[in-house]
Point group: C2
Chain length 195, copies 2
Amino acid sequence: MSEKSRDLTKEKIFEYCIKNFAENGYSNVGIRNISEGTGLSTGAIYYHFSSKEKIAQFLYDTATGLILDRIRTAVEKTANDQEALKSIIFTLFKLTEEEPHLMKYALYVKHKDFLHEAPPICSSKPFEYIKKFIKAKIKEGVFEDMDMVIAASLIMGPVIRIIQLKMDGILKQDLMKYTVPLFDGIARSIYKKQV
Amino acid sequence: MSEKSRDLTKEKIFEYCIKNFAENGYSNVGIRNISEGTGLSTGAIYYHFSSKEKIAQFLYDTATGLILDRIRTAVEKTANDQEALKSIIFTLFKLTEEEPHLMKYALYVKHKDFLHEAPPICSSKPFEYIKKFIKAKIKEGVFEDMDMVIAASLIMGPVIRIIQLKMDGILKQDLMKYTVPLFDGIARSIYKKQV
DNA sequence: ATTTATAAAAAGAACGCTCGTTTTATTAAA
DNA sequence: TTTAATAAAACGAGCGTTCTTTTTATAAAT
């Protein structure tokens, strides 16, 4: 069979699983659920993934990869430092609105439960990228000189928190509207005072 | 049997479950695990809790109650506003160091997966209390006037984030040492400028 | 162009195991 | 003697996975 067919099937599994793992929890979604939801047989699923865990692994890699791509593209497009951080926040908010399942999977699903090799989400590709970004800004003197742990928490903490509020259904409004006020708040805590 | 005996058994189950649910995930801890871990039979467990879900419910109520108590006590002991927020942060950090399983259970375990009645953790007792606290401070003019969602995220986001870093094993150092620098950062973003 | 050979892909029944729970029996306390 | 508490075996359902069979696509041979 063609490569197209294989990719199509894998994509079907990806689509269904990322949605349902995030929504119902990894343990609450069985192979038979996936089978029903995708219209594939258990045999077909096991032909493409040697185990349920391998599906989760594939989801994890794909999801973190997609998020990283979006962030990197956003940063590379911006000219100045002030805009870069704002752009990261905006991108994450937009991604949450556009692909809530992707974001839910990346932030919520307890990967440690079933992915024994995977690092905790805070050490995943996108977060590592942002960490490097922060470190560079401190070195350049754009951000106040402070402990990396403190800086990373002050910057990403509020962003993740507000995303979770949205994903929990507490926040009904469009996340993107919060970009500027949240950025302003974060900026006060980390940007160097211009005396 | 005496009430003491009943409470002792319940406590044994509580101790074992809060530790293992947080560590291994609700679905990965079976009744037989609990039985082995506590030295009780499945019959004994089901005599005290009519279902596994009821255990989780009990853990949730107890854990959030304990955290709320600690926060409330801390706030009530402090005299001025500046100290109150710092005290909340310190208390949460201390609690993380002293009772990591309690904190892990409260922040990590996906309650929605099995507790269909329970609110998301951000709407639990401790968080509601802190929300009220923030709202009051804004009204009093201590905190800058801003959207509640923004304020809550700017304050609790970094705190939760740093706690998670510790619980993930990324942060090795004592959390309490981060109280002051983190508070200072948060303060810059929310306290009213004294012009 | 049609047939045939080969492997990829999918189907679906079956297996063994573990789960949450129930049942029945036994022990300890009042 | 009656009830609270524990023990342990048993039940049915559902799980992840494997196995065997059938279908489908691809390419070479006629």
